[in-house]
């Protein structure tokens, strides 16, 4: 229940927020948008002339390849994450020790983000744990390059964002009425059918959130491919940073940022919409019953 009284107090309460978000978020984003339509200056920065050069450069097959690679890495990582997250959160939701198990999921993520990435360098590196172990047991003789490729990037992305997939999935699975599964079995469904046709549609909102929480940070990722990636795993985020800081082509960096922003927003909206209509359908069927 909300009562709207004494209207100008709302303005006072939100004035600092309004100021901060406008100055430090909206204006910078608008500046990027404007810069993406300007000509680049050779000293870094932009010249005040309209130009579509920065968008023309996006048609470059090299860049299209990077976008496709970014899509590939984020989709594969999201699939692995959700496939691992669903049974894990199912187990936690059905366990007697929910609180403790959830706590165990969260603890590793109190550690610094970069330390967590570094741990994987210590494991997969040429002098890392896996290589040393395999050499010691005599399976390989020389170091095998496990780092600095797209699979290392995918593993670390899964590692970094798995808890963000487990938590929303857990909270929807926990609310799921497990007697529905028994009902399905009684009506002649196989175990597999009862899970696929009864449980999965019911936990769809959780799956949506889990996918979004993995896909969004993966798609715009910068740090992970920068640290454990190689030539085959340059992602859109790396190109933006490189154009800005190294090549100093600000309009190009800006235009790629605009494209990334638009793609992410469209992706989020589409996905939410798609799932909304499906969950609405389920709700309708439930109401009809």
């Amino acid at each position: 229940m909300k009562i709207f009284k004494k209207k100008n107090y709302g303005q006072i309460y939100t004035a600092p927020l309004m100021f901060w978000i406008t100055v430090f978020f909206v204006i910078p984003i608008l500046i990027i948008f404007v810069f993406s339509f300007l000509k680049k200056s050779y000293t870094g920065g932009v010249l005040p002339q309209f130009s579509l050069d920065a968008y023309g450069a996006l048609a470059n097959p090299q860049f299209v390849k990077v976008v496709l690679k970014t899509l590939f890495i984020s989709i594969v990582a999201s699939i692995f994450t959700v496939l691992l997250a669903i049974p894990t959160s199912y187990y936690i939701a059905r366990s007697k020790y929910k609180d403790i198990l959830l706590f165990l999921i969260i603890i590793p993520f109190w550690t610094n983000f970069l330390i967590r990435i570094y741990a994987w360098i210590a494991i997969l590196g040429n002098n890392g744990f896996v290589n040393n172990f395999l050499i010691n047991i005599g399976l390989i003789e020389e170091h095998v390059q496990l780092l600095y490729n797209q699979w290392a990037v995918i593993i670390v992305i899964v590692y970094a964002y798995l808890p963000f997939a487990i938590l929303p999935l857990y909270s929807t699975i926990e609310k799921f009425d497990f007697s529905l599964l028994e009902a399905a079995r009684d009506l002649g469904a196989t175990k597999f059918q009862s899970i696929m046709k009864v449980m999965i549609p019911n936990i769809k909102p959780g799956i949506t959130t889990a996918v979004l929480f993995t896909f969004i940070p993966a798609f715009g990722n910068y740090a992970i491919p920068e640290i454990v990636g190689g030539k085959d795993s340059v992602m859109v985020g790396n190109i933006i940073a490189n154009q800005l800081r190294v090549v100093r082509n600000w309009p190009l960096s800006a235009s790629i940022s605009v494209v990334l922003t638009v793609l992410t927003t469209i992706g989020v909206l589409l996905f939410v919409q798609l799932n909304k209509s499906k969950t609405d359908e389920i709700r309708k069927i439930k109401e009809d019953v």
Partner: protein
């Protein structure tokens, strides 16, 4: 196919997945901890030693300097974002005003945009207004990305709020400022404190945005760790990791204890 899948006992299968997840989560940390006590620089065991801890505590002044910067930025940015975010949440939740729709939509956008976009746009903005890059710009950036989280958490708390208590306060003649300080803030304190803690955590952990808006000489701990990683695997990072893991577990448990102590009767 269906028949084969049917033979899998669901509970047991999900247990194996849970174990895989646990191994996946803990094995890396376990390896870091074990090898922080290794006397050799390589990741093969050569005997117990505390030399990396000695190196960390007595021979890494620039690291501790960055650590100090991180704490300063985390505390100041969390305080500012908690104040602005709490007031904003109260305003958005209970009042109608001009541009309400704008602020509602725009405040949550930083949540879905990739971090790098915020970093790049702020860097271009700061260099546009000729602001010297350094700790102050890092502080500004951190407040910006903390705000949506504080807003979300405080709003969630306000939605559990019984509005009739506010009406009672107004009926008894309380002024707006009294209601704010004596009713709204004390009653939503758990939400405000969680918002503050989340803001501190996010700020301590941030690498990407900080990386863009930092200037020469003002490093934070994540930036320092990044440059150490660039130099190659060093057991000092292992020792640092163990100290940080232990520190954050102690901090989390004690803040949870404090929280319970304050809000349970």
């Amino acid at each position: 196919m269906n028949r084969i899948l049917n033979l899998i006992p669901t509970k047991k299968a999900s247990f194996y997945f849970f174990i895989i997840t646990m191994l996946f989560f803990y094995a890396p940390l376990f390896i870091l901890i074990v090898f922080s006590f290794n006397s050799s620089k390589n990741i093969s065991w050569a005997g117990f030693s505390l030399k990396w801890y000695k190196e960390l505590f007595f021979n890494s002044s620039s690291l501790w300097n960055s650590f100090g910067n991180t704490i300063i930025v985390a505390l100041t940015s969390a305080i500012v974002s908690t104040v602005i975010g709490t007031l904003g949440a109260i305003g958005i939740y209970w009042y109608k005003f001009k541009f309400k729709k704008y602020i509602e939509i725009v405040s949550y956008l930083p949540l879905i945009l990739p971090e790098i976009i915020i970093g790049v746009s702020l860097l271009i903005f700061f260099s546009g207004i000729k602001l010297q890059l350094g700790l102050f710009t890092i502080f500004l950036a951190h407040v910006t990305f903390n705000l949506p989280y504080v807003l979300l958490i405080v709003m969630a708390r306000l939605s559990e709020f019984d509005y009739s208590i506010l009406e009672a306060a107004y009926d008894l003649g309380a002024r707006e400022i009294d209601t704010l300080l004596k009713v709204i803030i004390p009653m939503s304190l758990p939400g405000i404190i969680s918002g503050f803690l989340i803001a501190v955590t996010l700020s301590l952990d941030d690498f990407v945005i900080t990386f863009f808006v930092t200037g020469p000489g003002s490093s934070t701990l994540p930036l320092h760790i990044y440059s150490m990683i660039r130099f190659g695997v060093s057991p000092v990072i292992n020792a640092l990791s163990v100290v940080l893991i232990a520190g954050s577990i102690i901090l989390a448990i004690s803040s949870k204890g404090l929280y319970k102590y304050m809000f349970s009767k």
